[in-house]
Amino acid sequence: MLHIQIDPHSGIPVYRQVMDQVKYYAASGALKVGAQLPSIRELSKTLSVNPTTVVKAYTELQHEGVIEMKQGKGAFVAEVGRGMSEAERRKVLERLTRQMVVEAKQMGAPADVVRRVVEEQLEEMGLSREGESGGVTHD
């Protein structure tokens, strides 16, 4: 398992910090589909956090379709986009983008800079131009 690091002092709840890192590892390919996550007990010991925090993180991750919990076997990275409908996905994306656009506007970032940053991030995750007609992926 990849290194998960938490900062208990942060204003971001610990379960969120765990979720964000698992999501990042899954999205960046560092954790492949089907990879097993540590057990709740194991992770709560490694991080020295209450097991209910890990349960909460895993439950939310499952709800969002990032991981799958298999009875008696543990938690595994799910196939991308599993468990989320097109509409749900769009809703989440809109909310996140809106947040970013608001922040960008407040710091006075020009639209083309915002677009470029988004492109760069997409590329880093291997999502650039994927699915476009005649599109060429970078790898």
């Binding site: 208990p8 002092h9 942060s10 204003g11 971001i12 709840p13 610990v14 379960y15 969120r16 007990r41 709560s44 010991k45 991080l47 020295s48 956090v49 209450n50 097991p51 209910t52 925090t53 909460k56 608001v102 407040q106």
Partner: protein
């Protein structure tokens, strides 16, 4: 509703000389919960815990652990919980082994193997007289004795005081272990080390002047308490401007900075809609929240909406 492991209703205690230590306090800790209690020195934490365990008689109100009033409880009930006080007097002439042997007669569920195991993990010499140990080591012995009783409820009054960082982490790991056990265990602990609390507590109670001013899920508290900064163009905010949900606020020129309780995502929409206004929202850790509440010039008031 889930059963309460610890309950207090309208609990009060005034000490001779008129010092009001606990003042009409209500508390509810659910079974299986890890409840972290914070508050400034003199807020009444120790007095509260001493009343919960029945070593101090309240002037008014009721305190119950596992449904029983500790002042009237029998031995059977009393052995279902364990208490580590700040000023535990251990029998100094006894060794750890002798203490364990002695206490095992009082606790039906005493776990001798676990006691020995803990001594090893805490680095405590099994055959050493407790009186010859350092303050930190004696503290670890108190913790060991409490855990080895395999209680259903653990009440820990500043268990980490005087422990080095490694020992504190061992203590946290031990708490994680006991709450993960099938029989379950409810833990209430007071501390000044907020990062410890943030690791293991699911619920946090903030105590001030003899009352619990807020008691809520730690994640909720963190998600809902934010620092919000509103920057006005030019002249600054209108005279009656207040950020909705403000707990504490200050204005410096065109900038209003406030600790805000966010109950609704759209709560700040109206502020964002004011022309020429910039709104920044920052996450706030528990320690910062605490300092905002009790630091210089604060009133220590907290809108207690979400006691769930």
């Amino acid at each position: 509703m889930i059963d309460a492991a610890i309950e207090a209703n309208d609990l009060s205690k005034t000490f001779p000389g008129g010092v009001v230590a606990v003042n009409g306090l209500d508390l509810r800790v659910e079974k299986g919960s890890v409840y972290g209690l914070i508050g400034r020195n003199g807020a009444g934490k120790t007095t509260l815990i001493r009343m919960l365990v029945g070593v101090l008689r309240p002037d008014g109100g009721v305190a119950r652990v596992l449904g029983a009033d500790m002042l009237r409880s029998d031995r059977r009930t009393r052995q279902r919980f364990a208490y580590v006080s700040q000023t535990q007097q251990l029998h100094a002439w006894m060794t750890v082994e002798e203490l364990c042997h002695y206490l095992s007669h009082f606790y039906e569920k005493w776990d001798a193997a676990y006691a020995r195991d803990l001594a090893g993990r805490f680095g405590l010499a099994w055959d050493r007289q407790v009186g010859l140990m350092s303050g930190g080591e004696q503290r670890k012995v108190s913790v060991l004795l409490a855990f080895a009783a395999r209680p259903e409820v653990l009440l820990l009054d500043e268990p980490a005081a005087g422990l080095d960082p490694i020992a504190r982490r061992e203590l946290i790991d031990e708490i994680i272990d006991v709450i993960g056990r099938a029989e379950g265990c409810t833990v209430l602990f007071s501390t000044h080390i907020i990062s410890d609390l943030e690791r293991i507590a699911d619920t946090v109670g903030i105590m001030d002047r003899g009352r619990i001013i807020t008691s809520q899920n730690l994640d909720d508290l963190k998600s809902r308490t934010k620092r919000v900064q509103v920057v006005f163009d030019g002249e600054g905010p209108p005279r009656d401007f207040v950020i909705p949900g403000t707990v504490r606020s200050k204005t410096e020129g065109p900038v209003v900075t406030a600790v805000v309780r966010i109950d609704d995502e759209s709560q700040l929409d109206a502020v964002r809609a004011i022309p020429g206004v910039r709104v920044n929202v920052f996450a706030l850790g528990l320690e910062e929240t605490f300092i905002e509440l009790f630091g210089p010039a604060s009133r220590g008031e907290f809108a207690n909406g979400g006691t769930s």
